[in-house]
């Protein structure tokens, strides 16, 4: 077990990014060559409103150490209102997770615009730190999940 202790923990973070704002922001972070932890794997969706609770839960139960949903700032949604619905759905998942005494801090919702490359970098860095503190998601190894 000592080995496990010293073994470096590399978080696995699933990042649902909306095509119009946050994915563009992430690209901008890239073109600006900002240093960002590689722990986040971006998954492009057209709008954050596409992300249903079950997708988030599946990622979470499948052992994702963190799940990030990032979309256009309120009012900027490419589809007018999508991100408002997304926020409600996310709130429910987070409440349920919290209510069951699971680690709600592994779920995060952020607004990142297409011009906020730096902000995207900061969000990922922050989240990565949070997750590193939390350590690996125990669910990953849980046989009865």
């Amino acid at each position: 077990m000592g080995v496990n202790m010293v073994e470096k923990f590399e978080p696995r973070i699933v990042g649902f990014l909306c095509n119009w704002c946050s994915y563009a922001g992430a690209d901008l972070a890239g073109t600006s060559k900002l240093q960002i932890p590689s722990s986040l794997t971006p998954i492009r969706v057209m709008c954050t409103s596409r992300i249903d609770p079950v997708l988030v839960l599946t990622a979470f139960l499948r052992g994702a150490d963190g799940v990030l949903i990032a979309g256009c700032h309120p009012g900027d949604c490419h589809y007018d209102e999508g991100n408002y619905y997304a926020r409600r759905r996310f709130a429910i998942v987070k409440k349920v997770v919290e209510g069951l005494g699971l680690e709600k801090d592994r779920l995060r919702l952020s607004w990142v615009s297409a011009s906020e490359g730096q902000r995207f970098a900061d969000v990922v860095k922050e989240f990565n730190e949070t997750i590193t503190k939390l350590g690996p998601n125990p669910m990953k190894k849980e046989a009865s999940l």
Binding site: D27, R44, M46, S49, R50, A59, R62
Partner: protein
């Protein structure tokens, strides 16, 4: 299934940051992966040719490219697929440059992430299905609601041998408000006569059907295929029905009625008239008081109703200044006083027009708390200005320049087209900046003062802008090609809870009352996927972003 996976070195950009051989090693053994190769630069001509040859050579059924952001070259590679007869939606691009190679200097990290991203793309692409562009018949004809200058201009520019325009006007005559204006600002060009001319051209145009005294009863259908029913206001049982591909709402605006604001004394004090009264008086040829004499002094009150309505109508200052010109021409000796709060004369020619209108008989006073009362045979105006409160001025005639309000009675149009109305009652554009004349309902456009108060100039531009949109999207003889990545509702799983109807802000979902299920209209759907996440039964799938496709991406992301 034969998946080809190709990793782009992007010169040093990826090659130096990612150990591509490691990626190849990790991807090769995956099920259904027929071939994995690296290439110097896949977006180059050679690169595209290379991919094309590979697709042929290995008879690939699916293609995965690990390179730059989809925002850069997704289209490029989809085109290659298309050329090779591979459905472009059987392709997936893994972004291992912007969001991998470029954000870390740690090669091991980058390589691991590149492997995750590529595996995710491979996992995802296996669940892709070919998507085909649909083509939908459409009707090039257009319904124009409102026979004001906006409606007239739109009709004239749209009408043609292959396109019939149905111009519906609520009142008995075409022309709208501006038919009462003798001249326009800022260059005092003739207006009323100009409009008369336009109306004649409309009447003589064989491709424009004019319906006066007519209202909209119902608008059914969607972009390309609307079914319209109109009814006569004079004899309501008399209705007509026709089909069009697009709808233009040009219902205009009406001047705010100051009658109920006592301080203006309108309808109570003689010779207190509104701008429209004055325009008509001026058009009739004579500017006189009730007693037939010409006014020796006139006050023009700006911003009437602005406080009540909560917005600036942007043209009141300008037409008030135009009134100075009218007066200077017809009753030269008159003393003219303009009472204003903020002089709103935006635009390159407006200030010049204002300056040209000044003269020894003309005053501009910035006022507040104004009050109009009767004073024997004259009218007294009490007001405060910068320096002192309750100053007085008595005049023969007062012209009130009221704000513009949206025309009332649009509910049937708004409901049946599902366009929305802002808090001030004006119609809401699709996007304040980049889509000002289209609405959230595809194929329904707005022009002129129904959209917001504006000058004839801007009204014309909007009317022409609308024709621009219609002429580009509704071409006679051409079918409409709706978005491919749209939602689809499974009839057998839908329970008819209508949640999707509630969350769709494009009105793309309708309810089939017989089957008690929701149905997506692919012509209107924009493919955001909101309804998918909203559906409790999981009866809705968004093409190219299906649960399975996303799930398998997620699954690999946590490895």
């Amino acid at each position: 299934m034969k998946i080809g996976v190709y990793i782009c070195e992007c010169g040093p950009n990826i090659a130096e940051k990612v150990d591509i051989d490691e990626v190849i090693k990790a991807v090769k053994p995956l099920d259904n992966v027929a071939v994995v190769e690296r290439f110097k630069l896949l977006c180059s001509q050679d690169g595209k040719q290379f991919l094309a040859d590979q697709i042929k050579k290995h008879e690939l059924t699916h293609l995965v490219v690990a390179a730059c952001s989809p925002r850069e070259h997704q289209q490029t590679f989809m085109d290659v697929c298309e050329q090779e007869g591979l459905n472009p939606y059987l392709f997936q691009l893994a972004n291992i440059r912007e969001q991998c190679a470029w954000i870390t200097d740690d090669k091991k990290e980058a390589t691991k992430k590149a492997i995750r991203l590529t595996k995710a793309a491979v996992a995802r692409v296996q669940y892709h299905t070919p998507l085909e562009k649909q083509q939908i018949e459409s009707n090039p004809d257009v319904l124009v609601i409102g026979g004001g200058i906006a409606g007239i201009q739109a009709s004239l520019q749209l009408a043609g041998p292959e396109r019939t325009i149905h111009l519906v006007e609520k009142t008995s005559s075409l022309g709208g408000l501006s038919q009462y204006y003798e001249k326009t600002f800022p260059d005092m060009k003739p207006c009323a006569s100009f409009i008369k001319g336009l109306i004649e051209t409309v009447k003589n145009n064989p491709h424009i059907n004019v319906y006066t005294n007519t209202e909209i009863e119902e608008i059914l259908g969607f972009f390309g295929n609307f079914e319209i029913t109109v009814k006569q206001t004079t004899t309501p049982e008399a209705t007509a029905a026709f089909e069009v591909g697009a709808v233009v709402v040009a219902t205009g605006a009406t001047p705010f009625n100051p009658e109920h604001i006592s301080k203006y004394g309108y309808q109570k004090i003689e010779n207190v008239i509104t701008a429209l009264d004055f325009e008509q008086m001026n058009l009739s040829g004579k500017i006189t008081l009730k007693n037939g004499k010409p006014p020796k002094s006139v006050a023009i009150i700006h911003c009437v109703g602005r406080e009540e309505k909560g917005y600036c109508s942007q043209i009141c200052c300008m037409y008030s200044i135009k009134f100075i010109r009218y007066l200077q021409k017809k009753v030269p000796s008159t003393k003219i006083t303009n009472f204003y709060t903020d002089l709103c004369i935006p635009g390159k020619s407006q200030q010049h027009f204002y300056e040209q209108s000044l003269g020894n008989h003309v005053d501009f006073i910035r006022m507040s708390d104004l009050q109009i009362t009767k004073q024997s045979d004259k009218i007294q105006i009490t007001y405060s200005n910068e320096k002192d409160a309750s100053k007085k001025l008595s005049v023969d005639m007062v012209i009130l320049s009221p704000v513009l309000e949206p025309t009332q009675g649009l509910s049937s149009i708004i409901e049946s087209t599902r366009i929305s109305q802002g808090e001030k009652g004006f119609l809401t554009e699709e996007h304040e900046k980049i889509a000002p004349v289209s609405t959230s309902t595809e194929g329904v456009f707005i022009a002129g003062c129904s959209h917001g108060p504006k000058s004839i100039e801007e009204t014309m531009s909007q009317a022409e802008a609308v024709t621009g949109h219609i002429l580009t999207s509704l071409i006679p003889g051409q079918k409409i090609e709706p978005e491919v990545k749209v939602s689809h509702i499974s009839e057998s799983f839908c329970i008819g809870c209508k949640t999707c109807l509630n969350v769709c802000c494009y009105g793309a979902i309708t309810f089939d009352d017989l089957k008690k299920v929701s149905v997506v209209n692919e012509v209107i759907c924009r493919g955001c996927g909101n309804c998918v996440a909203a559906c409790p039964s999981g009866a809705i799938t968004l093409k190219h972003f299906t649960h399975n496709q996303v799930y398998h991406e997620v699954k690999e992301a946590v490895q």
